[in-house]
Symmetry: C2
Subunit: 443 residues, 2 copies
């Protein structure tokens, strides 16, 4: 009897606690939830996926090196020991900042005392949304499946066709955008095509595979120091990647991409060029930048709404030097944590403080054994940096099981030169832009 009273007292205490809604279970949302684990609040984390995705390794899922489950954990499993937190699967379709409420799946509303929006960004096509059908981007597991399917099907189709021009087109891969994701995608293909796959095909020589990396800007890895951009470019060229700088993509079709005026026949264009912020940002009546990111106040709240925070890739906030913080995992972690801290300080009647971004450094890998890294004035590249890259990514992966599994996959791939996860899943609808033979990969 006493126990029951205690429980119900706790329950009612819990019901009167301020309600914090966190939209998104990516780096920003999870960091915010973790920061509030002992706070006197009740938290609802809402995501349209049941899993958190470790985006920095998504390109390896796309390139058949890792399984999706290697880089994901269920959000509710991650937060299972945090008693003040409920996780809901759902799509947040509306935010009413004045009414302090959100809409889930267009049908159900939920009120909040504090809201943290961490719904991130999708890839954007600079006004050419029609390109998406031919040039998939890479932001979540579904995208990775889509790219993996096209990547592997290209070789299958090359093996099937008897037309030499078509064969060459299938063996041509074009990556658009030379940020870390584009460089990592482009740098992975040559080793797979020229080593892993050589013995597997009878009608094609996979060593003839052509890889182009197209960048509209003047150099690759433009957020990195100049010398590292140059080093990374040398590494890519050594791998056989054709690097095209200062040349924007002007058109993408089912079987070709135009770089400036040049037409390249290909069925495999992978998009790593632009980001568009989550549409929730536009619902706040707050100023946004060109990519739709919300310009937040120094404490990361939305102007005029001290109870509403925007974090991660959806937020626009400047560093001391006036440049916006980059769209990388550490930014999301730091802004998520800061917003949660602001809620804690508000509840403790302490004043708000301004967000300070700490730049941990830049790190990107180029194929096997090569990587570049910048930590302030210290710049590194080569073998050691590659190990550093491996170590850092393993360390930040969420979940011990994932770390062991990724380590195993990497060790396997390192020793055998074989990507371990060459599974074409047929459930991604196959666009006939990519597969001229209907039903080829339908299960």
């Amino acid at each position: 009897m006493k126990d029951m009273r205690t429980t119900s007292a706790l329950a009612s205490d819990s019901a009167t606690r301020p309600h914090v809604i966190i939209i998104g279970g990516g780096f920003g949302g999870l960091a915010a939830a973790r920061e509030l684990r002992n706070a006197p609040v009740r938290i609802t984390v809402i995501d349209r996926n049941n899993h958190h995705t470790f985006q920095p390794l998504l390109y390896q899922v796309a390139m058949a090196g890792l399984a999706p489950s290697d880089i994901t954990v269920p959000i509710r499993w991650r937060l299972r020991n945090q008693a003040n937190t409920t996780v809901l699967l759902g799509d947040v379709t509306g935010v009413d900042a004045d009414a302090h409420s959100i809409t889930i799946d267009a049908t159900r509303t939920m009120r909040y005392d504090f809201l943290i929006i961490a719904s991130g960004a999708r890839h954007g096509y600079f006004g050419h949304d029609e390109w998406e059908a031919f040039a998939p981007g890479l932001k979540d597991i579904e995208d990775a499946y889509r790219i993996r399917q096209r990547f592997l099907l290209a070789f299958e189709n090359a093996e099937r066709t008897v037309n030499p021009a078509e064969r060459a087109a299938y063996l041509t891969f074009v990556v658009v955008g030379a940020g870390p994701t584009g460089v990592e995608l482009a740098g992975t293909i040559p080793n797979i095509a020229k080593r892993s796959f050589v013995k597997d095909f009878r009608n094609i020589d996979t060593r003839t595979t052509r890889v182009l990396l197209v960048e509209a800007g003047a150099r690759i890895l433009s957020t990195f120091p100049d010398d590292l951009s140059a080093a990374a470019q040398r590494d890519l060229i050594e791998l056989g990647v054709e690097v095209r700088l200062g040349t924007p993509v002007t058109r993408i079709e089912r079987d070709a991409v135009w770089i400036g005026d040049e037409r390249i026949s290909t069925h495999s264009v992978f998009w790593a060029a632009g980001n568009v912020a989550s549409p929730l940002g536009r619902m706040l009546n707050a100023p946004t930048d060109r990519a739709g990111r919300v310009k937040v106040t120094p404490d990361l709240s939305v102007p005029g709404h001290s109870e509403l925070f925007v974090v991660g890739d959806l937020c626009y906030v400047e560093r001391a030097d006036g440049r916006p913080i980059p769209s990388v995992a550490p930014s999301a972690n730091q802004t998520g944590t800061h917003a949660a801290r602001m809620i804690r300080q508000t509840l403790a009647k302490q004043p708000r403080t301004a967000f300070k971004y700490f730049h941990k450094g830049d790190l990107a890998t180029i194929g096997r054994h090569k990587a570049v890294a910048a930590f302030g004035r210290l710049h590194f590249n080569g073998y050691f940096t590659w190990f550093l890259w491996l170590f850092v990514h393993l360390m930040y992966l969420v979940g011990f099981r994932n770390r062991v599994s990724v380590l195993l996959q990497w060790a396997w791939a390192y020793v055998t030169y074989q990507p371990g996860v060459r599974l074409i899943s047929g459930h991604v609808p196959i666009d006939d832009a990519v597969v001229p033979h209907p039903n080829v990969a339908h299960p």
Copy 2:
């Protein structure tokens, strides 16, 4: 110059070799291809998937215990060192036994000297094809994704709903058919629901999960000896599974299943009851049994076509005692190998021999620590048998990498009680039969 002549001599020798087409890269097709690796033939293996699937562990992919890539290997990778063999991705849509040709993807024909059809079976609904939308079966990776998605979404939906009856329906799982797959599916759910998931949800008590195993026949595991059926049934009941014998399913709807006259509210019906042979069997103008399996001659060729063999789940052949050989992996391996041997013997001008089935035994597992096994008159059950089950399945898995990965996943699950692969993939179209909240799981 001499080298070139040799190469071209070899090439022309190769072109004049008899052409063996093998349809299907499952156990039967792969066994046939391996058996012919040194034979003076050229082989084309055609499958509509790029991978071979280790079907005996498919239920673990469905139950979030293994990743799809743990139990699959690319068919062309498996056969990469077999120089006389080409692997093609494609869907064989027609067979013309008189013309000695097949049609691929309804567009391309290919001639053969010998044909081995190993295209297997799908699950069948005894004339109720409309049930498939509500009760997915389990034959390939796509099916496993579909069942996994429904299984995990049921808990997510139960957590979301505020209606107690709806909640109970979401927490009710019905498995139809009590062969090894049905028993293995039903036996896995209780541990996951009642142990693994307990801490993850706030609004539901996953220990209230209800699991029913429905079998039209008089006992579960009807191909096993009576005493092992009884032992397995005791194990299931101990796990909390409700076993319904002698009660056929009479109707399946979006939110219910009828067992006889009883209506059970559920959104999760998993089908493990019937098989229908591949439609290629019906194209041969050969006698078939009720399930569409081709009644082959003793050497496994089709009556009147000594160059055409049917193996694996698609073939009907009797044992010495008059019963048909069972639809299990060893049958497929043995028939595939025998058909290939018949081709070798024919080329060596040796007479054909009759297929002799060797029954290795029966093995099924029931949840954690329990399994049943029959080897002739020797019957086993309990802890030791469970280890035997683990060992046998690891040993027969194709690929060293897969063995290590599966062993790791099993060890992880054993120690932590957590299924490691709780990833809901949004790309399986979500039938609103299962998800009353639109968009819930769309990525």
